[in-house]
Amino acid sequence: MKLPIKKAESRKIFCLAILILILFFIPVLTSDPYYLHMLIMSGIFALNTMGWVLILRVGQFSLGQAGFFAIGAYTSALLVNRLGFSFWGAWPLSGLTAAMVALIIGSVVLRIKGLYFAIVSFAFAEIIRLTIISWPKVLGGLDGLSGIPKPRPFSFMGLIKIDFVTSRVPFYYFLLIIVFIAALIFWRVDTSRLGRIFRCVSQNGDLSESLGINLMKYRVLAFTVACFFSGISGGFFAHYYGVLHPDSFTVSESILIQIQATIGGTASAVAGPVLGATVLTILSEFLRAAKHVEPVLYGGILIVILFVLPKGLIDLGPRLLRLIDKKGRNTKLSMEPRKSLETTVSGLEK
């Protein structure tokens, strides 16, 4: 039946449009840098969580995204500070450098599966972090790399002056655009033939190979794209924060990315990871007031979410609908045939 599907689709697009509109107008509603900061950090994490899910799609569990985030951050910082690049020249290179490293490392390391890949990815990220610590002359070591300039102000079409120095708002809009474009790319890849092949690679390597699918090619592709965006987010982070310290690129960050993606819901390529990144970033900020109890509350909330919504936060809507459906059916004598709510979201069907 075409009609119900169309309704759901247009409803989704409508909600998405409203959401984007709201996001667009937030800086108009509040110029409080605190809220903007939370959203900016959410956006930075979202770029990483979407990438993490893409890597999961080819069946790999990465604990090394912080390493590529660091590569992007330090690349951009050094290109600007040491080699006099402008932000606009350096920033794309932060993504490309991370992607190149991912390509090289991945071609070797992606042959390993499961837990072993997780360990190796974690080890790689640690190598990056330890390199930063042991090279203070170039990378700032434990003193950190400071003095990273904000992007220089410029005039857009001679009318609007965009000043990154005095306000966070330009950062916010810039990131919003980046995340939007990234989301389109991640969504497009996931729903296309590539997404289909990725899922095959992940689920049944032998069968995929015997159908002519080159497993490594697709694993490396997914990994490289994901790490490109980790690098891009790192480059942005470097110029937003102004200071880089190896403590920002530990395994905790890698694990946090994974947790955010999982809590948000990994069945979706965009909505889940973005939701997870945003909700958990905001949550952890709000819980700061609880001081010492914060970790207990944070952890407790995570556990509750996982128990109640094992498929993640994006399952909240569908779950409620199913509950309401069930309640309705119990209270009236329904002659309607039971419609099975096919979880095609979590399945492989387009």
């Binding site: 296309s192 049944n204 979590s346």
Partner: protein, 253 residues
């Protein structure tokens, strides 16, 4: 007649155990070659070796006169050899048609950026893939199951799906590993017809089967293996009356 596959003195061992030793036989183009023998004779190992999951320890394998031993599985599929699995092997979480579409990957041209920007050529390819997938399903009698989730298929259609998957790669050679296991009498008869139909379309077939009705019914020639090596080769009639074969495998009436 052309020899499309030549197995030349292949050895394969695992640790101390020899799974295949000095195996020699050929597949003629356009024939259905039966490969029979007791369990453990090395038949599936041979399939795994031909399709690149293993590399032979000794000997060579030729496809259309060129060596393919040592190539990776996806490369061998690209050359035109496809196989099915002894156990039911499919992608869960997707429909039957979705499964077949995954097998079409070999013949697509669209690169990363064409896919990313959803170009016309990519969309045309996707439509072609879907149409041809349905065609393959129809040819094997699975048309009605197209939109069913693959893991929900009854056993017979599941086995047929394995063959459809292999066909999606447009092979010139098809290696069937016990495709008729668990089929009912009726399903088996239909299946035999389907296999003949595949051969008539120009695909050469090696068929591993335990069911002698099937083997004797559709195979042009038969190779018998035991303990990793060939013990007999010939027409079905010759094999039926071969003393060594009867002793080792067929048993006396």
């Amino acid at each position: 007649m052309n020899l499309i596959i030549e197995i030349q003195g292949v050895d394969k061992h695992f640790g101390g155990v020899s799974a295949i030793s000095d195996l020699r036989f050929d597949l003629k183009q356009g024939e259905i070659l039966g490969l029979i023998g007791p369990n453990g004779a090395g038949k599936t190992t041979l399939f795994n070796t031909i399709t690149g999951f293993f590399a032979p320890d000794r000997g060579t394998i030729l496809f259309k006169g060129k060596r393919i031993d040592g190539l990776r599985p996806h490369q061998i599929v690209a050359k035109g050899i496809a196989r099915t699995f002894q156990h039911t092997n499919l992608f869960t979480g997707g429909t039957t048609v979705w499964n077949i579409m995954a097998g079409f990957h070999r013949h697509t041209e669209a690169g990363f950026f064409q896919i990313l920007f959803n170009t016309k050529s990519y969309r045309r390819e996707e439509d072609m893939i879907r149409t041809e997938s349905v065609e393959i399903l129809n040819s094997m009698g699975l048309g009605e199951w197209a939109e069913t989730m693959a893991e929900n298929l009854p056993h017979g259609p599941k086995r047929a799906l394995g063959v459809c998957l292999a066909l999606a790669t447009s092979p010139e050679v098809l290696l069937l590993d016990e495709p008729a296991t668990g089929l009912t009498e009726e399903e088996r008869l239909i299946f035999m017809g389907k296999i003949k139909g595949i051969r008539d379309r120009g695909i050469s077939i090696i068929l591993v089967e335990h069911n002698m009705e099937v083997v004797m019914g559709i195979c042009d020639r038969i190779v018998v293996m035991n303990f990793g090596t060939k013990i007999a080769e010939g027409t079905p009639r010759e094999i039926m009356t071969n003393e060594t074969v009867v002793e080792a495998y067929l048993g006396r009436e």
